[in-house]
Symmetry: C2
Subunit: 240 residues, 2 copies
DNA sequence: CGGCTAGTTGAAGACTGTCAAAGCCTGTGG
DNA sequence: CCACAGGCTTTGACAGTCTTCAACTAGCCG
């Protein structure tokens, strides 16, 4: 059913699709197009299952076709850090391209479907594939840096708002409403990603709701005042 | 003169060189070897000069041959975040391989020399080059994730210690003493990278010195008790 | 010498983390 | 069908770490 939500594109697609001029949307569409001729192994996966874990031998590269995933790294002493949330069009396992084993854990947050990419063959037989991979890698680096900037220089409220905007824009690219967000992760996971505690995340959301900027109902969040949220970012953007 | 410090390899090289079994040292040596046959454009640069800045059209990929650099991203509203410190063997500009313009600022922290790599030609004519680039990109992602983990889950003291260990290991790979560190960045830059204020960095260093774990003299730091520092990491490693 | 940058140290305060309790929702089993 | 267990979320009170603000020192160069 959660999967249905992904496929059941909303009628209000047009304005958002038109707005996706830059970035990954185009690239990944091309990627999916490129792969249409290939008979790819598909893998269905359900919530809370691991796609793979750090240290396992690397079998394949996965293209997310449906569902919502989290990637995480874990230290020797058990500290965990979620490095990102992945959705349709994202590639899983890229970070370990040069290694014999995976470098991170990937867990499905709801039911999903993955396409298994035969990296070696695609690289050798599809000329555009290699540069697409390079672009995806470079893009991941820039995105990581962008988050490092946010987490290192913004306060709790601004981190959460930044996250909401980011999620909204990604949803928009996929053809969903950017103002009606259906979160797939727990407060704890969100907090982990933003380097906050789950309580702080909850408090921020409550605070934003109290100001009339958003509407919170569990994992369902509606953005009511986009400009107001922008203000939150500008306002006390200081730190350091 | 600062450059001299880089070239004047210490006599105590042997044990450290022998220890560099894993990771980048091998790769980058290969990279330098690969490039020996090529007539590369060299570019000398002095302290506080920018190699390039975000937004400038991308001319080349640079291989650091000597010197110490910082890479940083800046937000629209002026917040800056240092994403890493680069030294011999590191590549500059990789993160913008798929873009027409650079994505970050790179500033020299002392006198240095860069080798300008003609990416397109190397990619087409040198078969091993492409996969080396891929490996470097993937490695950067893993390193970023590793720092995101550290910054998100460690306290101030542990972040500084982690940084010292990281720096020591990088020095070691280049054939320098891993216990006698010559910092090239200010406390403010170090703090920025670690998401701390410069005062906190200073305080941590003073604290570690008071415990007899290190010896601080401005930017010269000597590691006196490696095990003691390890203990700092384990001790109150908790957060979240 | 004076101005500048970089580093150190102290005191006070803010933001976020910690601990605790209670409410909510879902799925399960009697 | 209802009760209950367990995971997730919310809210409050309090404590702690780190930041902020400020003053002072040290080294460097015109």
């Amino acid at each position: 059913m959660l999967l249905d939500a992904v496929h059941a594109a909303e009628p209000c697609n047009l304005p958002y699709v038109g707005a996706c001029s830059s970035g990954r949307a185009h690239e990944t569409h091309s990627l999916e197009q490129l792969l249409q001729a290939w008979p790819l192994q598909r893998r269905r996966i359900s919530a809370k299952q691991y796609v793979f874990r750090a240290g396992q031998v690397r079998h394949a590269l996965y293209l997310v076709h449906a569902g919502f995933f989290k990637t995480a790294v874990v230290s020797e002493d058990g500290r965990e850090k979620i490095t990102g949330f992945r959705m349709r069009g994202d590639l899983l396992g890229l970070d370990a391209l040069d290694m014999p084993t995976y470098a991170c854990d990937v867990m499905a947050l709801d039911t999903g479907e993955l396409w298994e990419l035969p990296y070696a063959r695609l690289r050798d037989e599809l000329p555009q594939f290699q540069e697409r991979i390079t672009a995806l890698l470079a893009g991941e680096i820039r995105r990581d840096w962008s988050w490092m900037l946010a987490l290192g220089t913004l306060g709790a409220d601004q981190r959460v708002v930044t996250f909401l905007f980011d999620l909204a824009s990604r949803f928009e690219r996929l053809g969903f409403s950017p103002s009606h967000l259906q979160l797939r992760m727990t407060r704890a996971e969100l907090g982990n990603f933003l380097s906050l505690t789950l309580e702080t995340v909850t408090r921020v959301l409550s605070r934003l709701q109290a100001r009339g900027l958003i509407e919170v109902a569990g994992r369902e969040i509606r953005i009511k005042d986009r400009n107001g949220l922008q203000t939150v970012l500008r306002d006390s953007a200081a730190y350091h």
